[in-house]
Amino acid sequence: MERTEQIEMYLEGQLQGADLSTFEQEMKQDAALQNEVAEYKELIQGIRIAGQHEFVHLVHTWEKNLAAADVLAEKGITDTQVSPDDSSNVMGSAGPKIVEMTSVKKESRFKMLYMLAAAACVFVLIGVGVVQFVGGNTDAQLFNQNFTHLQATFVERDDSSSYLTEAVDLYEKKQYAAANPKFDAFLAKDPNNIAASLYAGISHLAVGETGKAIPLFQKVIADQNENYTESAQWYLALSYLKNGDKNSAKALLEEIRNTPGHEKREAAKHLLRRLK
């Protein structure tokens, strides 16, 4: 225990004077001690990072709850209906909170005016016979506008997996219908190939086979490999959209939008705006 204490004191900068010199001298001559110090340093820093991550997660939860309360407030549901008694509020923030709710109500009134104006525009459009245009902005159209080919960068092709090689070649030429049976044959033998599952999912989705695409994307997401998860989330959301399952698509797009640094965050924001 004494040795560990000494190491900790050294790492915390609490060893001083002769004690510090002696310890540093010992380290110079003892590679095992050097390693031990390095190991403790990593462990302690790791514990601190774990604590920081916990706090960041807590803050994220607050933000999610407050953002959700904002949405409910915009819909006209009162603050008391959505938030529990916050008797632990030691900052006296009841003031700002009341001001906040008042301003939301004002914004809601403006929103109502905009909505009435928007409704009037729709009636005008109906009147001039452009219903086709308004009604044409369907989930299918949104899908077509947002579906893009993803280059199969991560798939390792070798001689031992000719099905995969053929599938990826066809996929890259956007010959999805021809690629699909090859992907299926390969995945029947190697179902845990996550990269192949992702591109197979995209290939099936491209020809509208959402029943095959969705479980493939779900499998990729469950695997949590950072190279593929974000793409799989995006294409899964598009699969839901293609199926007309707007609620599932929105839920997943919101998750993407709320994930800082997500590669499809901007696209998700844009698509969510169009879906509303």
Binding site: I44, I47, A50, F55, V59, S88
Partner: protein, 199 residues
């Protein structure tokens, strides 16, 4: 101390003391009270949407907390709101360097000039350090809590003993030692890589 009946506006010093003492109940009201003004300010000055503004606010708030907890922010000459805005400005400058180039004028907050933003610098976090987060969950709750109380919250052995119901600070110290050794041995035995544990 029961906070429910406290019906006064606390001074900066009292707030910082409570945060440093690990009283998280003092934090969420501060988060909520400053959130909407911050989001409006950020969206206006940085022309960002509400989600980016909320991201920056969460980071600014976390940095505020980490700096208080680690004793890097012990006194505050301005209001907490002003401090959070100043931290937010730094976060926009440092973490969103390419995206938001606007020059935004704010009151000078001397404490921010020495601000430690490294908490969100993932490049400085090693694989081994990230693995520890997962290993802690394998240690059991008591051990994990003791280690976080000591190394993350910087609580004294006496207060750890009180919180955990140990007889005295010596028992807490022994427990902490045993837990650290256990963590070390799990890490060594498993020879884990971050990929193994995070995937």
């Amino acid at each position: 101390m029961a906070l429910n009946n406290v019906n006064k506006v606390l001074s900066n010093e009292e707030i910082l003391q409570r945060i440093k003492a690990g009283d998280e109940r003092a934090l969420s009201p501060i988060y909520e009270a400053n959130r909407r003004p911050f989001l409006k300010w950020a969206m206006w000055h940085y022309k960002c949407d509400e989600y980016d503004a909320a991201d920056v606010y969460q980071k600014a708030f976390s940095i505020f907390y980490f700096n208080v907890k680690d004793g890097k922010l012990q006194t505050l000459s301005s209001k907490i709101e002003t401090y959070l805005f100043a931290v937010g400005k730094r976060v926009f400058q440092e973490l969103y360097r390419d995206k938001h180039r606007q020059s935004v004028k704010l009151d000078e907050v001397p404490e921010v000039s020495q601000l430690d933003l490294s908490y969100f610098d993932k490049e400085k976090q090693t694989q081994q350090q990230l693995v520890v987060e997962t290993l802690l969950s394998k240690l059991g709750e008591a051990c994990s809590t003791v280690l976080k109380m000591f190394y993350y919250h910087h609580f004294t052995m006496q207060s750890i003993a009180e919180d955990m119901g140990y007889k005295n600070d010596l028992v807490a110290k022994k427990k902490k030692y045993e837990c650290l050794q256990k963590l070390k041995s799990i890490a060594a035995e498993g020879n884990y890589s971050a990929d193994d544990l995070l995937n």
